[in-house]
Amino acid sequence: MSVLVYTENWDGKFKKLSFELVSYASAVAKMLNTSVTALSIGNVGDDELKKLGNYGAQKILSAHNDQLAVLDNQAYTSVIAEIAGKENASVVIISNNNTGKALAPRLSVRLKAGVGSGVSKLPLSTDPFTVYKRAYSGNAFAHVVIKSGIKILTLAQNSFDLLETPNNAVLEKAEVKVDASFIKTKVKDVNKQTGKILLTDADIVVSGGRGMKSPDNWGPLVELADALGAATACSRPVSDEGWRTHEEHTGQTGKIIAPNLYIAVGISGATQHLAGVSSSKYIVAINTDKDAPIFEAAQYGIVGDAMKILPQLVMALKEIKK
């Protein structure tokens, strides 16, 4: 028996998300009294792979094959399912990011394994195997029993702290056969954001709503984000109006994020918006309307004009850095 964790890489590097996953897998393995195997697919150097051992992976398998350069959901599912079988995995852990959402359901059918999706804490019990997950877009949490022999868990981003352990990992190459004719996904073009902090990765997010009044008013908000090393986001009306790009829309139908700090500026806090940000550890609200529902979700608030407040926050931060 083992816990298998799939650790995605980005251009050969792991992110904090990958280490969160291994830390989580390691804590689950402890509950089950078993060990963790981490699986990496793609071209990742040995030094980078070994980092997974710092968070509790005892075995690190690297599957590298030219056919796997593109994420083809069927091919990746086959590789992970094959390794899960060889490792006799009873739990398979994947991120609840875009890749995880693409692979976990296919793997579920392939392995006949129930999925606990978007889990944000350790299983509540292992017999019956019960997980805790978000439901009704954050308006409730569900206790879900997974009845199948193999279980798949997809972990919500930024929901589990890194746990460093002494590294005693063994690195192995996983031999996987993938026939070129099997790959159905053909990538015509790639369009990557560069140099920006990704919204889903960010520890701090500064977000603007309709209360910002005009797309021309975003300067001070971006300055605050830069001063904090934060990503920028926006509410749905702002992206619908085309003031900011759709990639920044956080909320029920946009991105669902859980940063350590979410600063909502000129956002009233409709249920649909809160559905995307309610898992943030701290919420700060800046709004002219003292009765705005966002203040019910926030731990810190300022009632006032963002155009005056934002520059003063930037100044206060600069003072500290001196």
Partner: protein, 249 residues
Amino acid sequence: MKILVCISNVPDTTTKIKIAEGNASIDTAGIQWVINPWDELSLTRALELRDDQSTGIKSVTVAHVGPAISEPTIRKALAIGADDAIRVNAESADAYFVAEQLAEAIKKEQFDIIMCGIESSDYNGSVVGGMVAEFLGIPSVSAASAINFEGGVPVITRDIDGGKEIINVPVPFVAIVQKGIAKEPRIAAMRGIMMARTKPIKTLEPVAIEPLTQIVSFEKPAPRSACKFVDAANPGQLIDLLRNEAKVI
């Protein structure tokens, strides 16, 4: 070509969710049921593609797994513009159960593109679309934010962490769609509502399959502590609180 759009019905997204006695379910009294927001966007895009003659798409069918009581949701999809519908007559037991029912219904007909919303706003599972594709053994494209046709061939944009990929996969495939796929959900016009009354809904009986998961209870999110207000005349105090009290910056 034919498109199938899978739809789920969910409580209206402004609903205050209450948990029923015994915590095993939510209190459905007074809940307004709507088409899941992502499914509604997915249906809108399917109809746009059908209405564009150059795509060669002839029809849009909607499929739903649910008891007769959920028919108003299906009628709404027909009123918006779907040509016909399939309802699998079963209470949803879990995502695996629903996906298998959908896959069995799909096998009975020939569809080229099957569209599923990336998530339902009730169970937030994000798994049904991918499961349907695996049950059918066909490709899936997840986090699709655009579907267009170039020279009669579907071209899909999928979101990856930190960017987008423009890809081709052969039909039939499952597109698991998200925000961006359509601008605004299409709204039913009076004529559409009248026409929907006579559009066919085919009812299928479910296949026997054991669900793999079961929700045993619900709980409300832990209440947040009251908001601490900082005087607008001294915003710098906020930075101090975030540094020294919350310790997040």
